[in-house]
């Protein structure tokens, strides 16, 4: 390294740091390998497969939103098209007995996603900001509606199905069982995560961040922001197609729901709730959202409503997502001032939980009266049984909700004060908070 770089540039990572970096990827690989031995049920394998697919999809979405500042409401198009082309490929491969084994099929999905993103991307990325969001929505609706017209390709309402065991067998794996699918998904997830992380460390990746921060200035340092956005769009399309193909393999079917607004909305939820400002944010969000959608639907009839309310709460109170919330505390941990805020959190937790309990009680009671009015009012929500017809319950719900809200407001302002103190102390120690 030249003399000037030695004194001014950030030092290259020390050997220990690099070891830690590569070790963490290795640990991740080992964890993925050993997971089936810890959670042995078939249901868990399905859950993990779905999480893996969601992780790839959410990370691909964040290439657009978190890294390049493009809010898309139609990213599922590339996911869906990847899925459809994967299904058709599998059918063709199976029918003609082509020597292409199943593990290669996700790559076909990725290339399809790339192809369509390259095709539609130049026009899509012409504008940025709100206009881009609207364009993505319109294009998504266009393609999703076309799915019902082009019946031979999209299979109409029923979709197109396939048999994944009919492809060339590698090492005697027919991929019929869920555990083999899990390994396929896990392998591709690891590859995709590494690839997308590497992308953030390239010149293109850095310029994507620059375009996100200040597209105007980017022009004045010699870069065409439209080209930067277009390339980011193509990469996002590739990985979305990859995820879609894995989903198609997992379910052995692809239908117009893959392309639809709900799918686009779900990936947006996952990435945002996880936190778009950090690379691992969407990973956290994908795991959280998959978990929630699988788990919540067992506990309550209206889990989608809770989903939406959680999303709104994150947008209003934690725009950095779960990862943002955690990372926010990093300076405090470094300065050792975290203990200052913990008591405040614990105190504020009580009325907040009460308020949430009151809200849930109210919602479930209302649901009982509007959706199942004739049923037995002794209902169960979140595993807790109560009598929805009892006025006592209504009063309790009101008290919990309103009382909880009023007390929570007070206690959270105490948390705010504690935070200010802790942050000031951290700054005095020279740590930026």
């Amino acid at each position: 390294m030249s003399e000037i770089s030695a004194s001014a540039a950030p030092p290259p990572p020390a050997a220990a740091e690099r070891l830690r970096f590569y070790a963490s990827w290795l640990v991740a690989a080992i964890v993925l390998l050993l997971l089936p031995n810890i959670f042995t049920s078939g249901g868990s394998m399905t859950t993990f497969s779905l999480m893996g697919i969601s992780i790839i999809f959410s990370l691909s979405y964040n290439i657009l939103l978190g890294q390049t500042g493009m809010l898309s409401f139609g990213h599922a198009v590339y996911y869906g098209l990847g899925g459809f082309l994967a299904i058709h490929s599998m059918n063709i491969i199976g029918a003609h007995k082509l020597p292409i084994p199943l593990p290669i099929v996700p790559l076909i999905g990725g290339l399809s996603g790339l192809f369509f993103a390259a095709l539609l991307g130049w026009v899509s990325t012409q504008r940025s900001g709100t206009a881009f969001a609207m364009i993505s929505l319109g294009l998504a609706e266009l393609i999703a509606s076309s799915a019902l017209i082009l019946r031979s390709f999209f299979g109409g309402e029923a979709g197109v199905s396939t048999n994944r065991t009919k492809l060339l067998k590698l090492f005697d794996w027919s991929f019929g069982s869920q555990i083999q699918i899990y390994y396929l998904v896990a392998a591709w997830t690891l590859i995709a995560v590494i690839a997308m992380y590497a992308l953030t460390r390239t010149p293109l990746g850095r310029m994507c961040n620059a375009v996100r921060d200040n597209p105007e200035r980017v022009q004045f340092v010699g870069y065409n922001p439209h080209v930067v956005r277009y390339l980011a769009f193509c990469f996002a399309g590739f990985f979305a197609g990859l995820a879609g193909a894995l989903a198609a393999i997992n379910f052995e079917i692809a239908n117009s729901a893959y392309l639809g607004a709900e799918q686009s909305g779900t990936v947006l939820f996952a990435a945002y709730i996880g936190g778009i400002g950090f690379f691992i944010g969407p990973i956290v969000g994908a795991i959280f959202v998959t978990f929630l959608s699988l788990g919540l639907s067992d506990l309550t009839q209206v889990w989608q409503l809770y989903f939406g309310l959680i999303f709104i709460a994150v947008v209003m109170f934690a725009p950095g997502g779960l990862t943002g919330l955690l990372m926010m505390h990093r300076p405090l941990v470094k300065a050792g001032t975290l203990p200052k805020v913990i008591p405040g959190y614990l105190i504020a937790l009580v009325p907040t939980l009460a308020m949430i309990a009151g809200l849930v009680l109210s919602i479930e009671t209302i649901v009982h009266y509007t959706v199942n009015p004739g049923d037995d009012p002794h209902i169960k929500a979140f595993g807790v049984g109560f009598d929805a017809a009892s006025p006592f319950i209504w009063a309790l719900a009101a008290v919990l909700l309103i009382g909880g809200f009023l007390v929570a407001r007070k206690t959270w302002s105490w948390v705010g004060h504690a935070w200010d103190e802790a942050a000031t102390m951290a700054r005095e120690k020279g740590i930026a908070a």
Partner: protein, 249 residues
């Protein structure tokens, strides 16, 4: 040798309102040229026309003898012209180091490369380190640009402008809002960084103008009323009347 920047019969109107009328300006290569005039005269508009932010309504804008009117800003930048902004225009969420690195990137030929790790490019690192040292922000290298002090941001702004190695530099009121001491430091920095390059600077601080410029042009109500050496401008009665006022020499 053709002039670095040349404006021939340039006009700019927004709808019916004429901002610039028949502008003729010539900046020689290697020259330090100041553009002065009262507020609203059209100085920033002139910068916008030269740097490609806007298109002239009519007339020619030439960079080293080649027509650049109508080209998008990134193409003009690639031909060796770079500008700074009156209102600080940096990449707020990125650190000082990363800001400068983005400014350096195109000139090192990386283009839109996505197959190599940016931390492994020695030329990029060296050039960025050089600029960082030149603008004296080495101590603030890892601070997000949005958290810098005003003067530090202005220094970063200038750093981003010159980082790409452009040989024609446009600075738009670089010392605006600075204290006397800060202005002195900024002028020394500008003088150092534009050594051997062509500089076109818009300024209101007359001590900066007369201390830095080889030649001065005066823009009033969209027209250049005088152009010449600092002595000629100081003595010009039209300029005194329109802008400088009857100063005690």
């Amino acid at each position: 040798m053709s002039a670095a920047i040349e404006l021939r019969a340039v006009e700019k109107s927004f709808g019916q309102v004429a901002i610039l009328r028949n502008i003729n300006l010539s900046v020689a290569q290697g020259e330090r040229h100041a553009l002065i005039g009262p507020n609203g005269a059209g100085k920033s508009t002139t910068f916008n026309l030269i740097s490609g932010y806007m298109k002239p309504t009519s007339g020619h804008v030439l960079l080293r003898g080649q027509e650049i009117a109508g080209l998008p800003p990134y193409q003009i930048n690639r031909r060796g012209l770079s500008r700074s902004f009156q209102v600080t225009n940096v990449f707020t969420h990125m650190s000082v180091w990363e800001n400068l690195r983005c400014a350096v990137l195109w000139s090192t030929g990386q283009r839109y490369a996505f197959w190599m790790n940016i931390d492994n490019l020695p030329e990029v690192r060296d050039r960025t380190a050089q600029i960082l040292t030149d603008i004296n922000l080495t101590a603030r290298r890892d601070v997000p640009a949005g958290l810098l002090t005003y003067a530090e941001q202005r220094a970063l702004e200038i750093g981003i402008t010159v980082a790409g190695g452009a040989d024609v530099i446009l600075l738009d009121e670089p010392t605006a809002g600075m204290s006397h001491a800060e202005t002195e430091r900024a002028v020394a920095l500008i003088r150092r960084l534009t050594e051997g390059r062509t500089l076109l600077i818009v300024e209101h601080d007359m001590s900066v103008v007369f201390g830095l410029a080889d030649r001065i042009s005066v823009l009033v109500y969209g027209q250049i009323i005088a152009s010449g050496t600092p002595e000629e401008i100081r003595g010009d009665p039209k300029v005194r009347e329109a802008y400088l006022g009857e100063e005690v020499a």
